[in-house]
Every structure is written in C-alpha cells, then in structure tokens.
C-alpha cells in the first residue's frame, strides 16, 4: 500500500514536471513565432551569436521550442524532447550568466557601468535555473531510471 502511494506521488510529480516544462516552452515560443523580427533584436542584444546566425536563430528557434513543448505536454517522444530541452535551457542560462558577468544589460544591449545593477537579471537567472532543475529531473527520469527498467513511460 505504502509503495503504491509512493509510486503515485512519483508519477504525479513526473507528469506534472513534463507538462509544466512543456507549457513553459510553448508559452515562450508563442510571442517569438508571431514577432520574429523583435526576437532577432533580442538575440542581437545578447551580443553572443555572430551576425549571420541571428536571423536564422530567430526564425527556427521558436519552432524548436514549440515542438518540444508540444511533445512534452502530450508525452510523446520524451527522450528527444527532454534531451533538446535540457540543451536549450543550459545554453540560455550560460548566455545570461555570461552577459551578467560582463555587465551587459540585455534589455537594451547596453553595457551598464555597474551602477545600474538590474534586479531583473537576477530574476531571469533564478527563473531559468528553476526550469533547469525541472528539466534535469526529467532527464534523470527518462534516461536513467527508465533505462534501468524501473519504469516504462515513454
């Protein structure tokens, strides 16, 4: 009986995590798909990608987010979508950390001289970090526990 409850909680957590992360990705892609030019501007402001890759990212990245978000929500192709989700979130997180470290205000693409330390950037970092926690949890579930044969759910 106890084992059953534990199983139930674990399954709820797992499905909850995948649906939440899926919704996050779908939500994140929505505005970018509608306004790729504005998204390109944001990518430009991050000052990381070479110019040639800015528009390409702005055109394709939102569709990648939408696809894996959709797959996560409906629970299909989980290994593929969880894998890509982890990579994307880690890249975004690194980009944020990198720009914070060099004092670039990504809101406007301006280097602030330290005076205008933006509280938003900490908030973004925290938010992204919590998404990574969910994504890594799913990765462990899908890749390690499943392949040990403890659960079958993909």
């Amino acid at each position: 009986m106890k084992e059953e409850i534990r199983q139930n909680i674990s399954m709820t957590l797992y499905h909850g995590a995948r649906i939440v992360l899926g919704i996050v990705f779908v939500y994140a892609s929505y505005d970018k798909i509608l306004h790729p030019a504005a998204f390109a501007k944001i990518i430009y402001n991050y000052q990381i990608l070479p110019d040639e890759l800015i528009n390409l990212s702005a055109i394709f990245l939102p569709w990648l987010e939408l696809s894996i978000g959709f797959l996560l929500v409906i629970g299909v192709w989980l290994p593929g979508s969880v894998f890509i989700g982890n990579i994307l979130l880690i890249i975004f997180f690194c980009a944020l950390v990198y720009n914070k470290a060099r004092g670039l205000d990504i809101g406007c693409g301006c280097f602030s001289t330290g005076e205008g330390e933006t509280p938003e950037s900490n908030l973004y970092l925290l938010r992204d970090f919590s998404f990574i926690v969910i994504a890594v949890y799913l990765f462990i579930k899908v890749f390690i526990l499943n392949s040990l044969g403890l659960k079958r759910s993909s």
């Binding site: 790729p36 040639e52 800015i54 990648l64 696809s67 290994p79 899908v142």
Partner: protein
C-alpha cells in the same frame, strides 16, 4: 554513461533528427508565407542600426562631434540613467534618460531651441538608448539630432572634456 542503455540513445538521436526536420520545415514555410518575412542572413552591424526607418543615417563621427563641441555649436544629450550620468558625462551634456524621456523631457530640454544641433549618446557599441532618444527628439520637433555611437566610451578614451555630478 554505461548505466544508460544504448537503446535509449538510438531512440533519442532518431527523435532529435525528426524534431529537427519538423522545425526546419516549419521555420521555412512560416517565414515564406508571412507578410513580414525576414532574410535568413542580415547585416546587423552597429552602423546599420543608426539608420531610421525612413532611411536617414543619424550617425555622427567622433571628429565631427568634437569639432561641434569645441565651437560650442552643439548640445549633448545623455540617454543613460541619471545615476550613470552623475558618475560622469560629456562636459555640458544634459541628462535625459531614454527610459524616462516622457517625464523628464520638459525639464531637460528647457531653453534648447528646436533648431539646435543635438547629439545623443549612451555607452556600448550596441546601446540603442541614444538612437531611440534621437528618434524621440526628432518626433518632438528637433530637426537636427545626431547619434554618437558608443559615445561615452569613445569620448572618455580620447581624453575629451568630461565632468561629474549634476552638470
């Protein structure tokens, strides 16, 4: 990672490939059919960003700007935050933070006629505040507004006159 069986990696790679294919098609098709389609590769250099939607290039070179400064024929407008302005700014510059431009406009631009030559600046090669402010001032009736790209940094680096505090 030997504790992950190899089957799941095969499955993952296959799914990643499929997802990539879907994304490629979706991106291509959507960019093709939308009215505001974008080129896949575009010139994002800082210079092209100093051109207004109507095609006017607002950039002014440092030498031109210095020239006008020495003759006292221009007013510099600092588009950065007030705090940054107080730490240091181009000598004689007025502070008009772009983010508060609506609120501070009347106070900052008092006594500056619409025919005056203005030069906006902020800091960083990709900083857009100066450009945005120039467009804002243009809409407000100032007909002679230029942008000194990466203004604060190049001005300082060239040892040109600066001052601190409330200018």
């Amino acid at each position: 990672m030997t504790f992950i069986n190899s089957q799941i990696w095969t499955k993952t790679s296959r799914q990643v490939l499929f997802i990539a294919l879907i994304v490629l098609i979706a991106g291509f098709v959507s960019n093709r059919i939308r009215s505001d389609k974008m080129p896949f590769v575009e010139d994002w250099s800082a210079k092209s960003n100093l051109v207004t939607p109507s095609g006017e290039n607002l950039e002014i070179s440092l030498s031109e700007a210095t020239n006008l400064f020495n003759k006292g024929e221009t007013v510099f407008i600092d588009a950065r935050s007030r705090a940054e302005y107080d730490v240091g700014h181009i000598k004689g510059a007025k502070s008009l933070p772009y983010k508060e431009a609506d609120l501070k406009f009347v106070e900052a631009m008092a006594g500056i006629s619409e025919d005056s030559a203005l030069i906006t600046y902020c800091d960083g090669e990709t900083c857009e505040l100066s450009m945005e402010l120039a467009v804002f001032l243009g809409n407000a009736g100032y007909k002679n507004v230029k942008v000194l790209s990466n203004g604060w940094s190049v001005w300082k680096q060239n040892g040109l006159p600066v001052e601190t505090g409330k200018g």
